[in-house]
């Protein structure tokens, strides 16, 4: 069962490290901890005048799922505002089986996490951090 959890797509997303690092001059930043496992995500965003993301960077001290999720999120976040990011969260929720429907790309990569309820927060932590950064 877990063997399938680390499918190539998830491992590839994590290794791609899209958006990993810090921004030199972020408009906003937010940090989220998962007190249960000690994982931590810090997200920097640079926003334009209308609140749309111009640039994004993340630092993850967490597991592969958390890294993969941060990477996936960063790959599609630019150009979106808070509502646009909220829409992406629904994609993730669909991938995790928390909402009805098919998940869009790249979040469909996370469908193997459906059967692993205890690991779903790992996928969602970057979303929580980004939401905080945009609020």
């Amino acid at each position: 069962m877990s063997e399938q959890l680390y499918q190539e797509r998830i491992v590839a997303l994590a290794k791609a490290k899209t958006g990993a690092g810090k921004l030199a001059a972020p408009t906003k930043s937010a940090r989220r901890d998962n007190p249960l496992c000690g994982d931590r995500v810090t997200i920097d965003v640079a926003l334009d005048a209308t609140g749309k993301i111009k640039d994004i960077a993340h630092q993850v001290r967490g597991c592969l799922l958390c890294e993969a999720s941060a990477s996936a999120l960063a790959s599609v976040a630019v150009g979106r505002d808070a509502a646009g990011i909220a829409a992406l969260r629904h994609e993730a929720d669909r991938a995790l089986g928390r909402e009805e429907g098919e998940a869009g790309e790249p979040f469909s990569a996370f469908t193997p996490v459906r059967q692993h309820k205890s690991r779903q927060d790992c996928v969602l932590l970057p979303f929580e951090a980004l939401k905080d950064a945009l609020s």
Binding site: M1, S2, E3, L5, Y6, V11, L36, C37, G38, D39, R40, R61, G62, C63, L64, L65, C66, E67, H116, R119, C122
Partner: protein
């Protein structure tokens, strides 16, 4: 080996399960050990032939329940080498530490000091912080050595005349290091401090002789010593228990209640307000009896051979770092490691796919993780029923994780 491993394993029905298509390899004993038939039978006998409240009833079932409950107290006392009236059943190890922090803690004055260490489980840190905010005591923490032991060379520097209690982990739940109790006791006594040991990870490895340790308080949890969860033990010197006010108020712990004034029952009942976890305590008594029936020379040798096998195997996998003493000297069978480039939860998840249960994360020891600058470790914790197959499956899983995840 003078004990029969197959016969021992057969006493644990859960071990014959299949997990993710593999035999179960249960190596998370430090979190919760499995429970043998002897314990399950004792609980079942209580539930089916003697289920009633204790102390208060006069009918047959109440008599049976009380007898079994007090019998369990005697079994726990025998396991620790003390007398039953000094044994208090609590809701767990954490509950026992909170009891001491609240009750003994209420006897302390602002400016009094408690000495802990960086190796402590959160349950031996946070209750003292709560006491600090209630009553203005101060907390000091002994550092740890590179080997993951409490650094006792700091004792003279950190003990003060205001130090009233030294509360330390007997065996670390992260590094497996065992405490040099003699040195601690001698140093603590020189400033008149009391000594408490957190025995959560020591008690699962055989009976104790508390009088020979010359300490003041000892605590452990039922579920880690092959007993039920929801029960734990506090042992304390009788004169200390006598001086301590109750922690919880309610039924069973009173002498006489009027609205003007209530007097307290003597220990141990003073500290067992309300209906205690009766079935759990009976199961714990059975677990202590079961443990006393094992040949611990042989069991310990077996557990430590498995520890060595795990450490040797892990050292053979590139990028592993073991957190803890490198030899088996003064060490118990807990092996924590980090695998470079792979997060500990991912290691544990891959191990699960091999049927191997381990613990990953900070192990409720964040100050220690901060000290070693690690987010967490993967922890293998060994019990008498483990075998070479368990260790080898774990090693195969770690190797696989290293291969696919980095």
């Amino acid at each position: 080996m003078s004990f029969d491993l197959a016969a021992l394993r057969a006493q644990f029905p859960i071990l014959s399960q299949v997990v993710n298509g593999n035999p179960l390899h249960y190596l998370d004993n430090g979190a919760s050990a499995q429970t043998p038939l002897a314990v399950l039978d004792a609980v079942r006998t209580y539930e089916t032939t003697g289920r009633a409240n204790v102390v208060r009833g006069v009918h047959m079932l109440a008599e049976r329940a009380t007898e079994a409950y007090e019998g369990a107290r005697a079994e726990v006392a025998a396991f620790l080498g003390v007398v039953p009236s000094e044994i208090i059943f609590t809701g767990g190890c954490t509950a026992a530490i909170n009891l001491v922090a609240y009750s003994y803690g209420s006897l302390l004055k602002p400016g009094d000091r408690i000495l802990l260490s960086t190796l402590e489980h959160h349950s031996n840190i946070v209750p003292w912080q709560l006491l600090r905010s209630r009553s203005g005591i101060e907390i000091d923490a002994l550092p740890v050595t590179d080997e993951g032991r409490i650094d006792l060379s700091a004792l003279p520097r950190m003990l003060t005349p205001r130090t009233k209690l030294v509360s330390l982990v007997h065996v670390s739940n992260v590094t497996g290091a065992s405490l040099d109790v003699k040195t601690v006791v001698a140093a603590a006594r020189s400033v008149g401090a009391k000594i408490m040991l957190d025995g959560a990870q020591r008690a699962p490895h055989g009976p104790l002789d508390l009088p020979s340790l010359d300490i003041d308080f000892y605590v452990f949890a039922g579920h880690k010593v092959f007993g039920p969860n929801g029960v734990g033990v506090l042992w304390a010197r009788p004169e200390l228990l006598e001086a301590m006010p109750p922690f919880h108020g309610g039924g069973s712990m009173i002498g006489r209640v009027t609205f003007a004034e209530t007097t307290w029952a003597p220990p141990p009942r003073r500290f067992e307000a309300g209906t205690p976890p009766i079935g759990q305590a009976i199961g714990l008594g059975a677990a202590c009896k079961w443990m006393r029936g094992l040949d611990w020379m042989a069991v310990h040798a077996h557990e430590m051979a498995l520890t060595q096998r795990a450490m040797d195997g892990l050292q053979g996998i590139a990028g592993t770092r073991i957190l803890g003493p490198s030899s088996l000297q003064d060490r118990y069978p807990v092996v924590s490691f980090a695998l470079e480039g792979v997060h500990t939860h991912d290691v544990a998840q891959v191990l699960d796919s091999f049927g191997v249960a381990v613990r990953a994360g900070h192990h409720c020891a964040q100050p220690l993780m901060d000290h070693f600058d690690l987010a967490g470790t993967t922890r293998v914790s060994i019990a008498p029923y483990n075998d070479n197959g368990d260790i080898d499956a774990m090693l195969a899983g770690v190797e696989h994780a290293a291969k696919i995840l980095r």
